[in-house]
């Protein structure tokens, strides 16, 4: 629970203000802020109580909070959300109106959809769009069970999910990255498979320096990992990793800090970081260079669609939102997040 203390001051005040607005006694008395207990306990209590107000705040506020929260904080909020899930999910499923949309799913898609939701809310006064993250699997499961109006998934639908409807809003590509000082300019698919399955453990075997390879892999459940495994026809039990990472930035930092590392991350993030001078380079797949442009044209093989998923043919507000998310008017938002708009 110690990790939660990071950035507490602003968040805590934020939450206390929200609580006060719930109980209707603002302005809140300062002694209630400083009066009790340890910081950790206080945070847990305030989080619990702040939960019901999440639906009150706008997407803008929520997005700000998402960006400010470090992983552990988000995780904690997630825990608290689960705590109250039994109560909240029932009411949210039943009391859903024409003024509220609930989207859950992929943490890759969520930041993009949050930006879209902000713009959508400003264009449709009185409408509230609630975006929660939890991975593609959760997005699809929630859409299937009707816990969310729209699920978000950073992959195509699988065969067993045929009854769902998917709407692509953008594309994302995954590319293999090396440290900038690594002399290797390209690897064949077979070499990458051999490196990741532990058959090749030294760079000299693929034409590089005599140095052990540090294999950087993603943690289970990440859609980047799924795409990578699927493309290279590997299973997660075959992979012999030296480092397992969570998000793209951590992967880039790990590779940039180790000249013998190999990893894979989202192209958008990698291209941006490489152009910002971080010591990584993007390897082509086959003969196709890893670039956002090649993802857009669909020629880059290691790419995936970012989908909005619904249980039935969307209607009402959900249909309006999906149409909006697929329109030209959000292409600037897609590019801002280093994803690639879908060109019809």
């Amino acid at each position: 629970m110690i990790g939660e203390n990071t950035r507490l001051p602003t968040n805590r005040i934020d939450m206390l203000i929200e609580i006060d607005s719930v109980f209707g006694n603002s302005p809140h008395r300062p002694d209630t802020v400083t009066g009790s207990g340890s910081v950790g306990k206080k945070a847990s209590a305030t989080c619990c109580m702040a939960r019901p107000t999440v639906r009150r705040s706008t997407a803008a506020a929520r997005f700000r909070r998402l960006k400010e929260f470090p992983l552990s904080n988000r995780l904690f909020t997630c825990l608290v959300a689960l705590l109250s899930a039994s109560i909240v999910s029932c009411s949210s499923a039943n009391n859903r109106s024409d003024h509220q949309l609930v989207l859950t799913g992929s943490s890759t898609v969520a930041p993009l959809v949050l930006e879209m939701a902000k713009r959508f809310e400003s264009q449709h006064p009185g409408v509230r769009v609630d975006v929660q993250t939890g991975g593609s699997s959760r997005g699809i499961a929630d859409a299937m069970r009707g816990l969310a109006d729209i699920g978000m998934a950073s992959r195509s639908l699988r065969e067993e999910e045929y009854e769902l409807h998917a709407f692509a809003i953008a594309r994302d590509g995954v590319c293999v990255i090396l440290h900038r000082d690594n002399p290797i300019e390209a690897l064949t698919d077979a070499q990458i498979v051999a490196i990741y399955s532990g058959e090749i453990v030294n760079w000299s075997d693929v034409g590089g320096h005599d140095a052990p390879i540090t294999v950087v892999n993603k943690a289970a459940g990440r859609s980047t990992l799924e795409l990578f495994l699927e493309y290279f026809d590997l299973s997660s039990t075959e992979i012999r990793a030296d480092v397992v990472i969570g998000d793209n930035e951590q992967g880039i930092k790990t590779v940039a800090g180790n000249s013998n590392a190999i990893g894979y991350v989202s192209i958008g993030t990698a291209e941006f970081d490489a152009s910002a001078g971080i010591a990584i380079k993007l390897l082509p797949v086959g003969t196709v260079a890893a670039s956002v442009d090649n993802v857009a044209t669909g020629s880059f093989p290691l790419s995936r669609p970012l989908n909005l998923v619904t249980r039935s043919e969307p209607n009402g507000l959900a249909a309006t939102f999906i149409e909006f998310a697929r329109s030209d008017s959000v292409h600037d938002l897609i590019r801002e997040q280093y994803f690639v708009p879908i060109v019809p």
Binding site: I2, T214, G221, N260
Partner: protein, 288 residues
């Protein structure tokens, strides 16, 4: 009259606070148990220790759920960190209390307090961009048990130092005066009188530090490499239980999610054992 009314009010307010604090802990424990139940029922406790590996899946039959390498990772990182931080912490508290001139001692104490206040992500980020590349140049891949131990010991150090410092302040003045009257040297006083008297305080500090080391997530997640495997050496990557929960929580469903709650339950049991140990130690010392 007025006074007793105020007392009543205060009494109920304090009772309310106590109940609230107690309830939160109890609710968390109950919640953990409830969420763990599906995994305990479908997977069974023994499989968490006998399965061939940790390759979780949404259903019990498809996944493999061996927690032992992660338990080992947690325990090794924790033990290593406490083993490094304890002598350093007690040493610096001794320096602060008995050797440093008052002005330096105050400044030093503030510095240690500052160290305690640095958020764990900052340590983690520093570890990721400085410490790990440094180790990688010497013993690749760098992200390793060693990196975790070093980061954790820096994080645990202020806890142990501050508690040790407080314990030294609690040594009765008469003992020190007595030692001075007997003509004991400074080190003789420390070894013969201060350390034995402050023993329970020092142990409490160690246990608090251990608790922090067990629970730490972010920093460890960033520097340990997170590969689920029994480490053969200090330079092998490890994954701790907390890091595992943080890495997989957002993506886990059904039995996998429940299995993560089981690992959380294990952590809780470890912390309860620690608290019990701390309690026993301080009680035995109080009686003896």
């Amino acid at each position: 009259m007025y006074r007793s009314y105020r007392d009543q009010w205060l009494l109920w307010w304090i009772r309310g606070c106590a109940v609230l604090a107690g309830m939160i802990v109890l609710l968390i424990a109950v919640f953990l148990l409830l969420e763990s139940l599906p995994a305990l029922r479908h997977i069974g406790l023994s499989r968490f220790f006998t399965d061939p590996s940790w390759h979780p899946a949404a259903t019990a039959a498809q996944g493999r759920f061996n927690l032992v390498p992660m338990l080992a990772g947690t325990l090794l990182a924790m033990t290593g960190a406490v083993a490094i931080a304890t002598p350093l912490g007690i040493g610096s508290a001794l320096f602060c209390h008995f050797y440093a001139p008052p002005l330096l001692a105050t400044a030093y104490r503030r510095l240690i307090e500052l160290l305690a206040g640095i958020p764990s992500v900052v340590y983690g980020f520093w570890g990721l961009v400085v410490l790990v590349p440094l180790i990688a140049r010497w013993q690749p891949p760098g992200a390793s048990l060693l990196a975790g131990i070093l980061i954790l010991s820096v994080m645990v150090l202020p806890t142990i130092t501050l508690v040790a410092d407080a314990a030294f302040s609690n040594v009765p003045r008469e003992y020190l005066h007595g030692a001075a009257a007997l003509g004991l040297s400074r080190w003789g006083t420390i070894r013969g009188i201060v350390l034995p008297t402050a023993r329970s305080g020092l142990l409490t500090g160690m246990i608090l530090g251990t608790g922090r080391a067990i629970g730490e997530t972010m920093a460890v997640l960033m520097v340990c490499g997170n590969v689920v495997r029994m480490p053969d050496s200090l330079f092998d990557p490890v994954r701790t239980i907390t890091a595992n929960i943080a890495l997989e929580m957002a993506y886990a469903v059904d039995d996998h999610r429940s299995a993560l709650f089981v690992s959380g339950l294990l952590l809780m049991v470890m912390v309860i054992a620690l608290v019990a140990a701390a309690d026993t130690v301080s009680r035995r010392d109080g009686n003896g």
